[in-house]
Subunit: 138 residues, 2 copies
């Protein structure tokens, strides 16, 4: 057989999980990219726009629109970055923090449910492969 490209499987899995995530979180009325951004911010670590862009895989120009909507809805705030006045620091508002926690819980739920019967070393291997593929683009 031929259809075993990891990258093609990667894209299938991304589409499938993203769709599942948006269905479960439909009440939040957020797009996939907005969910992705909040999911990355959920750890409470403040990031500059470019750092967040690297984490979510969006270009600066794309991220501007995503952040515009999240800010307009009161989920994040743009502020100054100490020591570099060109950079924009992104922080969650209390409401954004609450929403991000819901997203984190949905992510964990889906992962727990999906990977229940799968050996821990397979999951660990997946992490290694995903990070290698992510790193390859630099």
């Amino acid at each position: 057989m031929m259809n075993e490209s990891v990258i093609l499987e990667l894209q299938r899995a991304t589409h499938a999980t993203l769709h599942l995530l948006m269905t479960e979180l439909a009440d939040l009325d957020l797009t996939a990219s907005e969910i992705n951004a909040l999911g990355n911010l959920a750890d409470g670590v403040e990031r500059t726009a470019s750092e967040l862009g690297a984490a979510v895989g969006s270009r600066p120009a794309t991220l501007t629109g995503i952040l515009d909507r999240l800010e307009r809805r009161g989920l994040i705030v743009r502020g100054p970055r100490q020591g570099d006045r060109r950079a924009v620091q992104i922080s969650l508002t209390p409401q954004g923090d609450q929403t991000a926690a819901l997203i984190r819980r949905a992510l964990t739920d889906i992962e727990d449910r999906t990977l229940a019967g799968i050996p821990a070393d397979a999951v660990a291997g997946a992490g290694v492969v995903l990070r290698a593929l992510t790193g390859a683009a630099r």
Copy 2:
């Protein structure tokens, strides 16, 4: 730490590899979704539009546009499906087959290069996890 969600890593890896792939195949002047569709068709197996949609993770309405462009460029052909006249059979033209082979080679190159130092069982584990995540959405 908190930022170790497999799904978030999945999205990062997808963005990164897709970007890399489009850069390497810039000469083809194809979008990510078009590359994805041709990459899935590269095995020479004919598929209906809905089967291809499931493989690439696109909805029917989205796929229509993707197929429109691929057909206009002479890379695929839409034909009838034996036994079900509602369905549309997608086949590669000779030119499409050639393009699909280039995509396959680029995919293989990236994967070989990226996963060179990674143990085979980690790669196998990644496959298991990716298929589990893909299957969870059903």
